[in-house]
């Protein structure tokens, strides 16, 4: 889309603030392509589908041209039938195929909830372990340039409580490739939620295939003043904010990479050191990842906490389409920095 292309390009220029690593640098979409190409070549049960996977855009470039290489039986366009197609992917997966169902944005998954929540996620359990449902669903969160309430939702919070699902939210090209391979190989339904504003990032990505275990977070930055936890574009913003606060306070930044299952161990390990927690998310602050991680910390890390937990997510309002309101709606590096200062300095003040 022309209108959000500018934003994606602008965000591509920003570095994630990682220390430079040695190796081959490729784009986020190129990393995803490598993962998909590897799995498509290696496993004939893998197939790719979605609206426009074979069109000139090719799902942000991720699937572009794959129908030419692998044929239209294994790479195909779909009718605008999200619920039906999710059930179709479920039935195919139950028969041993491995569909990867691409969506332009997670907002469209809402149409698929009857299959996803009532069927896909539950069949392994209901069938007493006799049936696996190894499907992958993929979407890229929209944002900006008038996308508005129905085109910029990040719905991981709505699916977090559904037993039987796994939810992955990478933020770097390296993670994107490794997690895509692992997701396809996982015998469970795995949802991959990307973010448009990360799709043109570049990063070091090994040539050969590799896997990243689900449910394992990583430290993006070490510090002792505050633990900031999150995924996707939100943790990317947080990392930039943390780097800008260097010298004033050292903020520890954890990229969870997976939100279901959650890496409790890394969260508690960091809390033990910092005693302060800020959770960031691309979705609504209420009832989502921020709430779940916050509650987890209060439950299992109560004695470690020396400040109230802070959530930085979206407010309890639909996303406005208009540009100026948009700037007030979404978190930014500035608002993240302020939040970090609030958490750290608040407890400093309280001690006095």
């Amino acid at each position: 889309m022309l209108w959000d292309e500018k934003l994606v390009n602008r965000n591509a220029g920003l570095r994630a603030g990682e220390a430079p690593e040695k190796g081959r640098t490729i784009s986020y979409t190129a990393a995803l392509r490598e993962a998909l190409e590897y799995k498509m070549e290696q496993d004939p049960s893998v197939f790719l589908l979605g609206q426009g996977v074979d069109d000139p855009g090719g799902m942000f470039g991720v699937t572009r041209g794959f129908h030419e290489k692998f044929g239209r039986t294994r790479v195909f366009d779909t009718p605008v039938s999200e619920e039906g197609m999710t059930g179709i992917c479920t039935g195919a997966a139950m028969e041993g195929m491995k569909p990867v169902y691409f969506h332009n944005r997670p907002d469209f998954w809402l149409l698929a909830f009857n299959q996803l929540v009532n069927h896909t996620s539950k069949i392994h359990y209901l069938d007493n372990g006799l049936t696996d449902v190894p499907l992958v669903m993929w979407a890229a969160i929209g944002r900006g340039w008038g996308s508005g309430a129905q085109h910029s939702q990040a719905i991981q919070g709505l699916l977090l409580s559904v037993p039987g699902l796994k939810i992955v939210m990478p933020s770097t090209p390296y993670d994107a490739k490794g997690l895509m391979i692992t997701a396809i190989e996982d015998r469970n339904p795995v949802l991959i939620i990307e973010h448009r504003w990360l799709m043109k990032r570049e990063g070091v990505v090994p040539q050969e295939p590799y896997r990243i275990p689900l449910g394992r977070g990583v430290y993006r930055r070490r510090g002792d003043a505050l633990t900031v936890v999150g995924t996707s574009h939100a943790i990317d913003l947080a990392l930039t904010a943390a780097n800008q606060l260097a010298g004033e306070m050292e903020v520890e930044v954890i990229d969870l990479r997976t939100v279901k299952p959650l890496d409790e161990a890394i969260l508690l390990e960091s809390l033990r050191k910092t005693g302060r927690l800020m959770v960031v998310d691309t979705g609504w602050a209420m009832g989502g990842v921020c709430a779940e991680v916050g509650c987890l910390a209060a439950e299992k890390g109560f004695d470690l906490l020396k400040a109230p937990i802070r959530r930085v997510g979206l407010p309890d309002a639909p996303a406005p389409a208009g540009f100026s309101l948009e700037q007030l709606y979404f978190p930014s590096v500035a608002t993240m920095k302020q939040a970090m200062r609030d958490v750290v300095l608040q407890s400093e003040v309280a001690k006095v």
Partner: protein, 343 residues
């Protein structure tokens, strides 16, 4: 007031249809029909004992549809269905003990008590799944057919649904896709005119019969007398042939009627949503009794033989109740297993 009349040919039609078949085939078909009826009657009779703590949706009155259709399918073909599972499960050859254990919520139920009556499963005979959400199984069965096509398998996938299932959009999303890809799938709609207490006339407009809707979506479609097991069998064979020729999916609308309430073991006609006269009319066209009458007429069976078939079946069912009641309950260790697959 009889709102929904039987429009089939009754016993006279069955007499004509049976001419094409030999007694061995017909006795097997009758045995299959009778078995579903006897089992379901026993489930109904014992239900109030509250040992089967799961909602049941009995096939009584509707047996000819799954039995006739499964007779046209191979053992290697696969079936799926909605919440009215028992007829499909049994007609496809599903294990009776496993089913009874599932009703009694035992660990050795076909789903380890996790599914209940609305989610029966017996993969060893091709009964691949069921769903308690109306129409929920339709996309899933369609996906199974897609997998078969992608792998070049010759098997047919059949999915049994009710008249209300075609009111869900996902039904048409699936059929659109099936027609588009010419998937090897047969949709069998048991139109029993009621969705719980809700008659067809308040849910779907006149002049738009269900099979015509499927036809409009590009499927081969027929409407038949669902209480004539041979009409069901023959329509299923036509559908299977159509599908195997690679021309695409097929749809059969089979008119039938359920004798008991939507769920449970009782007849709930007294609630007033339908008339006793209507139930009585349809019971005259009892799929099991009609075939029994014709077989006795032809002297392919005697009344005594039917009685002893019944007795054998009753003993089989009694043994399965016994098996279930003696089977162990699942334990707390099994509560959280298989939420995800960690192989």
């Amino acid at each position: 007031m009889v709102k929904f009349r039987y429009k089939g040919g009754g016993i006279p039609q069955l007499r004509k249809d049976i001419e094409k078949y030999d007694s061995a085939f017909m006795k097997t078909l009758f045995q299959s029909l009778l078995r579903v009826r006897v089992i379901e009657d026993e489930v109904a009779a014992h239900y109030s004992e509250d040992q089967m703590k799961t909602p049941v949706h009995l096939a009584i009155g509707q047996e000819a549809v799954p039995v006739g259709c499964c007779a046209a399918l191979k053992a290697s073909d696969h079936v799926y269905c909605g919440h009215r599972t028992h007829g499909v499960y049994l007609a496809k050859g599903g294990d009776l003990n496993a089913m009874m254990s599932e009703f009694h919520c035992r660990a050795n139920g076909c789903c380890g008590s996790r599914g209940g009556s609305m989610h029966l499963l017996d993969k060893s005979v091709g009964m691949m799944g069921s769903s308690a959400i109306v129409a929920g199984i339709i996309p899933i069965a369609t996906g199974a057919a897609l997998a078969a096509q992608m792998r070049g398998e010759s098997k047919i996938t059949a999915v049994f649904i009710g008249d209300a299932a075609v009111e869900e959009g996902a039904a048409w999303e699936s059929m659109n896709f099936a027609a588009l890809k010419k998937l090897p799938i047969l949709y069998v709609c048991e139109n029993n005119f009621y969705s719980v207490c809700s008659p067809l006339e308040v849910r779907q407009p006149e002049g738009a019969p269900i099979y015509r809707k499927a036809e409009a979506f590009g499927l081969y479609a027929e409407a038949i007398d669902g209480n004539n097991v041979l009409q069901v069998y023959e329509a299923s064979k036509r559908a299977v042939e159509w599908i195997q020729s690679g021309r695409g999916p097929a749809f059969i609308e089979a008119y039938t009627y359920r004798w008991k309430g939507h769920h449970g073991g009782e007849d709930d006609t007294k609630l007033g949503y339908r008339s006793f006269a209507e139930l009585a009319e349809w019971q005259q066209y009892d799929p099991v009794a009609m075939l029994q009458a014709v077989l006795i007429e032809k002297q392919w069976l005697t009344k005594q033989e039917v009685d002893s078939m019944r007795e054998v079946l009753l003993r089989e069912v009694a043994a399965s109740f016994d098996h279930a009641l003696k089977s162990p309950e699942p334990t707390i260790d099994e509560l959280l297993t298989h939420v995800t697959c960690e192989r």
